[in-house]
């Protein structure tokens, strides 16, 4: 009997070892451990055993059952893992295939740069003022200390609608309109972004372009404050290492006036192709608001001072992205627009 059981165990073990499919395993389970299975059948012969042998053989039967069961379980786990491994192997994909295409639109680079400029000044407590693109001669020139026949009018060749109405040549008229609206509240602290128009058309000039103008009026505003605000802007826009320098200039609506250069973002100031070897790149015009302009805006030019600055969004965008011809910005070729 013991020998039979030992042989049965060996036979079962051998059979389990040979199995390669889960179904086969079930058949073996039935064959050996089922109600009519071989081990169960051997139990029936227990009656023939003596009372002393019965528990011992019974134990052997249980051991054999445990061995077979654990072997079956182990085999089952082995087969399950093998089957899983094989399934996963079959499911392998080429991960280098392109991903699903999401059709994404692009905001025009000028809009993006304008928003970035706005964001920097919003962070410094400026609000955004707007004004008409078709302006009166008064707001575009006269209120800005540029009377009729002033030679400075030549700096800005204008498009006229009538003798008194023109396409604004800068966003500066918004300064006056904003001051008129705000007076006498202080401080005045705003930027005016928008389209402007001048009679120019080449690789570095477009008859329509975008400006962002800035204006601060309060008690005790100085040229040093202007430098501080512009340095902060230059660093946020072009990198924390940037320096600025002011060159004396002339605008009828500011006095003193200055062109502002930023240290070259490409070479860091040592001189390269972009900065034409000078280490500096001109980015905007600025100055202390001319007393006449403060008066035109309704503010007291004895008590208050202010500064103003104006930059071309195109210029900033061209520097930021390395665009070498302004006409790209208005050609609207999809292959250009899709790069931003």
């Amino acid at each position: 009997m013991e020998q039979e059981l030992a042989a049965l165990q060996l036979e079962a073990e051998a059979a389990i070892a040979q199995i390669t499919l889960l179904e086969g395993l079930n058949e073996l389970r039935v064959k050996y451990l089922g109600k009519k299975g071989l081990l169960t059948a051997s139990l029936r012969n227990m009656g023939a055993l003596s009372a002393e042998e019965r528990p011992r053989v019974g134990q052997i039967v249980n051991t054999v059952r445990d061995v077979i069961e654990s072997q079956l379980a182990a085999k089952e786990e082995q087969l399950r893992l093998a089957a899983l491994a094989s399934r996963l192997a079959q499911e392998t994909i080429d991960v280098t295939l392109p991903g699903r295409t999401f059709i994404k639109g692009n905001v025009h680079p000028l809009s993006q740069v304008q928003e970035e400029i706005e964001q920097i000044f919003l962070g410094m407590g400026f609000t955004i003022a707007e004004g008409p693109e078709i302006e009166t001669d008064y707001y575009n020139f006269e209120a800005l200390n540029i009377p009729k026949d002033h030679p400075a009018r030549e700096m800005q060749d204008s498009f006229y609608i009538t003798e008194e109405i023109l396409l604004r040549t800068h966003t500066s008229p918004v300064q006056i309109r904003a001051m008129e609206k705000l007076v006498p509240s202080l401080p005045v602290k705003l930027i005016c972004p928008g389209k402007v128009f001048r009679k120019d058309d080449d690789a570095t000039h477009s008859p329509m372009f975008h400006q962002v103008e800035g204006l601060v009026v309060d008690k005790g505003i100085s040229l040093a404050d202007l430098k501080g605000i512009l340095l902060e802007f230059a660093r946020q826009m072009f990198g924390p290492e940037r320096q600025i320098r002011l060159r004396p200039s002339f605008f009828p609506f500011t006095e003193p006036s200055a062109e502002v250069d930023v240290s070259c973002m490409l070479c860091g100031g040592s001189g390269c192709r972009i900065c034409k070897g000078s280490g500096w790149i001109e980015i905007l015009g600025s100055g202390m608001v001319h007393p006449n302009v403060l008066k035109m805006g309704g503010y007291d030019s004895e008590e208050l001072t202010g500064f103003a600055f104006g930059m071309g969004v195109e210029r900033i965008a061209m520097l930021k992205y390395g665009i070498d011809d302004m006409r790209y910005l208005y050609d609207n070729d999809l292959r250009f627009l899709k790069q931003f």
């Binding site: 295939l97 392109p98 699903r100 295409t101 059709i103 639109g105 692009n106 905001v107 025009h108 809009s111 919003l122 407590g125 609000t127 955004i128 693109e133 009166t136 026949d149 002033h150 030679p151 400075a152 030549e154 700096m155 498009f159 006229y160 609608i161 009538t162 109405i165 401080p187 602290k189 389209k195 128009f197 009679k199 058309d201 329509m208 309060d218 005790g220 100085s222 040229l223 040093a224 430098k227 501080g228 605000i229 340095l231 002011l246 060159r247 004396p248 200039s249 002339f250 006095e255 003193p256 202390m288 007393p291 910005l329 208005y330 050609d331 070729d333 999809l334 292959r335 627009l337 899709k338």
Partner: protein
């Protein structure tokens, strides 16, 4: 203004090399655009002399020349036939880069080595007219006195640097060398060496018979008119030094007398004009407005028709010059002229500008008048002319100088407060620092009291008018770089966008998220931009505002809608084979408020877009062709993003450029806020677009008014939803909108969602019918719905659809 460096050094001690001086001037407000080395292209070119010549053995037309270049004798092969032994000529040696771009290298010509090149006027960019007869066809033959071995630039007197100033309109004073020297002295600190006449000292002339009578008829346009008589005039050529300086300054030498007037203009900034006294009828100079239609033949031999706004110099009969712009041929100085009247005048800048613009005539003189000349100095300038006339032996200046100056300008003094200087600049200068800074400009000044300086403004600095102008002088001479950086102190301000600014930005981001790419077109367009849209005559878009002086016709009217710009941009892209386009633009359009344009137009914000072509097939996605519903979906997204709820799309058939069956008006709060749909096939063809094209145009203000932007929380449902489908067959004319409304009306609040998931026409669907399939989602916020109540509600909906649309239900 071109400032010759050697010339400048005669007027002021300058120790800085040209480039460094330029940098310093720029940083102090006199911008130097570039520094030009006039001799650069003549480097390695020198005066040589032919010491021997023989024929080339293998080429009839070539000569082998031995050329003495001072240090050595070089063999040079030339094809020129105008040279002979003994001639002196310019020789370019190897390494030279000639002005015409030619680079000289040692070479062999037909086997014979040639070490250099003999140059023609053309190769050196010289005007052949200035050189001898023999130089006209071939090599430039130099005069006998040329020194063999001398660098050719030195020979020409062009071993010179020129600083090209880019002057701001307020610094017209620097259009003369004297005032440039004053600036350089203030900026770089050298001593000035100015002659007396530069400081306004007027000449003592020997008395002569000056019979000319000067009358200023319009003092408003001519502040001062001075004139000086020169007798026994001998017209000829100017000396070389004067020619060289004129050339360096960018002017052409003409004749000794004209050259003097130009030379003095370059020195003092004061334009001068010379009349032949014998040709002045009645010996009269009358400064008066032109009579309308009056004509004059100007020095360039063009007949000019004048109008009453133009100022002329006339004799008793007719104009002899257009004031400040150009002289007349009738009073021109010629070789026979014996007596000359030199005019030194102040004409109103704006008047000269208007005239020179109208006539299309701009000159060195007119530019100086436009920007303003120094009326105080006119007679002193004539004294300078007298000196030169005598020095060059051209004639004899005689007095008295005619001088008509009805209202002399009063001297200007400005107060400057130390406290204001420091407050405006953010500096902390002491009185004496401010004084020593301004003293560099050589202004007379004195302290009225501590902290209050009174500064006498010299007449040549007409740009200094108010106190801040002087503060700017302090700032630029002290150095902008010495001013610190601070941030404004004071009340904290909030930086934020207005509601509308936020919505405009949100709209851009929404459109981009839906796959549309933003374009920016010009705000002006061609008057023909609307031609292809088949608009009726009275359409509002036809009210285009015209630009009086457009750059070109295609940019001559202000846009009244963004649509044509988008269509043109699409057409341009398509012509470059960018066929799949989804574009949008946001911006203002302009409509007149008044036909005479007496008031500003309305500027209306518009949002418009266009889609055509396909989304191309990829390995795992089928090609998608753009259609009506793509654009509609994008707009629905836009409305969601802007917080607009109350909108609908209603079929519209009468927009002439749109497909009548595939266009909808967009209704917001019951009003038309725009339209969208398929472009009319004829318009598609007119713009040569590749196929069906979909567009939309939205009115910004209507959108922004309806944008509530409010998000309100509603509880997440806790009870299960029950889903039931309905498939039905209806007439193809029944709109889905109607069926939706009907389903919702019955379903009420228990019907959480209705979604159309299939529309079918074709096989198994009778003609004139369409099959629609909806999924209905029932859910209650308070309890789990029972199967019976859902079934009952669903059946009621079906029955209603059957009743209202004769809908045949399908299983």
């Amino acid at each position: 203004m071109r400032v010759a460096y050697k010339w400048l050094k005669e007027l002021v001690d300058v120790s800085l090399p040209p480039e460094e001086l330029a940098e310093k001037m720029t940083m102090a407000g006199i911008a130097v655009e570039k520094v030009e080395n006039l001799a650069q292209s003549l480097d390695r070119v020198c005066v040589g002399q032919i010491t021997g010549m023989e024929h080339h053995p293998d080429a009839d037309k070539l000569w082998i020349c031995q050329v003495d270049v001072g240090t050595e004798t070089r063999q040079i092969v030339t094809g020129a036939q105008n040279v002979q032994t003994g001639d002196k000529l310019p020789v370019a040696m190897d390494g030279a880069h000639l002005p015409n771009g030619v680079e000289i290298k040692p070479a062999k010509l037909r086997g014979v080595p040639s070490n250099g090149m003999l140059c023609s006027t053309g190769e050196l960019n010289l005007d052949p007219q200035d050189w001898s007869e023999r130089s006209q066809n071939g090599i430039l033959i130099l005069p006998e006195d040329a020194q063999v071995g001398q660098p050719f630039a030195e020979y020409l007197g062009v071993d010179e640097y020129v600083l090209e100033l880019e002057l701001y309109p307020n610094r017209a004073d620097c259009l003369g060398m004297i005032n440039v020297a004053r600036e350089v002295a203030a900026i770089a600190g050298g001593a000035l060496h100015l002659p007396a006449w530069a400081n306004g000292i007027e000449p003592q002339l020997p008395a002569g018979e000056v019979a000319t009578k000067v009358t200023i008829a319009t003092p408003a346009l001519c502040r001062r008119y001075a004139a000086m008589l020169i007798e026994d005039v001998k017209i000829g050529e100017s000396p070389l030094w004067m020619k060289q300086r004129l050339t360096a300054a960018g002017m052409r030498p003409i004749s000794n007398l004209v050259d003097i007037t130009n030379y003095v203009m370059l020195e003092m900034g004061q334009p001068l004009h010379a009349f032949d006294v014998a040709k002045l009828a009645g010996n009269q100079i009358i400064v008066r407005p032109a009579q309308p239609g009056e004509t004059i033949v100007t020095l360039d031999n063009v007949t000019r028709t004048l109008d009453a706004e133009m100022l002329v110099i006339a004799d008793q009969d007719s104009p002899v010059a257009i004031a400040g712009v150009m002289g007349g041929l009738n009073s021109e100085v010629t070789a026979d002229t014996r007596s000359i009247l030199i005019e030194s005048a102040h004409f109103l800048g704006s008047s000269v500008r208007r005239t020179s613009r109208k006539l299309g005539l701009r000159s060195e003189a007119s530019q100086r008048f436009e920007k303003g000349v120094n009326a105080a100095n006119l007679v002193a300038v004539l004294g300078r002319v007298a000196t030169l006339v005598e020095q060059l032996g051209i004639g004899r200046a005689v007095g008295p100088v005619l001088d008509s100056y009805p209202e002399p300008l009063a001297p200007v003094a400005l107060e400057l407060h130390t406290a204001k200087v420091n407050a405006l600049l953010g500096l902390n200068l002491k009185d004496e620092q401010i004084e020593s800074t301004l003293a560099r400009l050589d202004f007379a000044m004195h302290w009225a009291e501590a902290g209050k300086l009174v500064v006498q403004i010299p007449p040549y600095r007409a740009d200094l008018v108010v106190e801040v102008d002087l503060i700017e002088e302090v700032a630029r001479l002290h150095g902008f770089d010495k001013i610190g950086t601070t941030l404004p102190r004071g009340v904290t301000t909030l930086g934020k966008r207005s509601r509308e600014q936020g919505l405009k930005l949100a709209a851009k981001k929404s459109m981009a998220a839906s796959g549309f790419t933003e374009v920016i077109n010009f705000s002006f367009s061609s008057p023909k931009a609307l031609e292809r849209l088949k608009l009726v005559e009275e359409h509002i878009w036809r009210r285009q505002i015209k630009v009086l002086n457009p750059l070109r016709d295609e940019l001559s009217v202000m846009r009244t809608t963004l649509l044509p710009g988008l269509l043109e941009t699409a057409a341009r892209n398509v012509s470059r084979r960018n066929l799949d386009l989804t574009l949008f633009e946001q911006g203002y359009v302009y409509l007149p408020t008044d036909p005479q344009m007496l008031s500003l137009p309305d500027e209306i914000y518009e949002i418009a877009g266009l889609a055509c072509g396909t989304v191309p097939k990829t390995w795992n996605q089928a090609q998608v062709t753009q259609d009506f519903f793509f654009v509609k979906g994008a707009l629905q997204s836009l409305f969601t993003d802007l917080g607009i709820n109350n909108y609908s799309f209603i079929s519209v058939k009468d927009i002439p450029f749109m497909h009548p069956g595939r266009t909808a008006n967009i209704m917001i709060r019951g009003k038309v806020a725009g339209f969208m749909g398929e472009l009319h096939p004829e318009v598609v063809e007119a713009y040569a677009l590749p196929g069906n094209t979909y567009v939309f145009v939205l009115d910004g203000p209507a959108l922004f008014a309806a944008a509530e932007g409010k998000v309100k929380f509603s509880p997440v449902p806790r009870f299960p939803a029950v889903t039931r489908d309905i498939a039905l067959l209806v007439d193809e004319t029944v709109t889905v909108e109607k069926i939706y409304r009907s389903i919702r009306k019955v379903g009420k609040e228990l019907l959480r969602e209705v979604r159309l998931f299939d529309v079918y026409q074709g096989q198994q669907v009778p003609k004139g019918k369409k099959s629609l399939a909806f999924t209905l989602n029932y859910q209650s916020g308070e309890r789990t719905l029972t199967d019976e109540e859902v079934t009952k509600l669903h059946e009621t909906i079906k029955a209603t659809l059957d009743k209202e649309f004769g809908a045949e239900l399908r299983q």
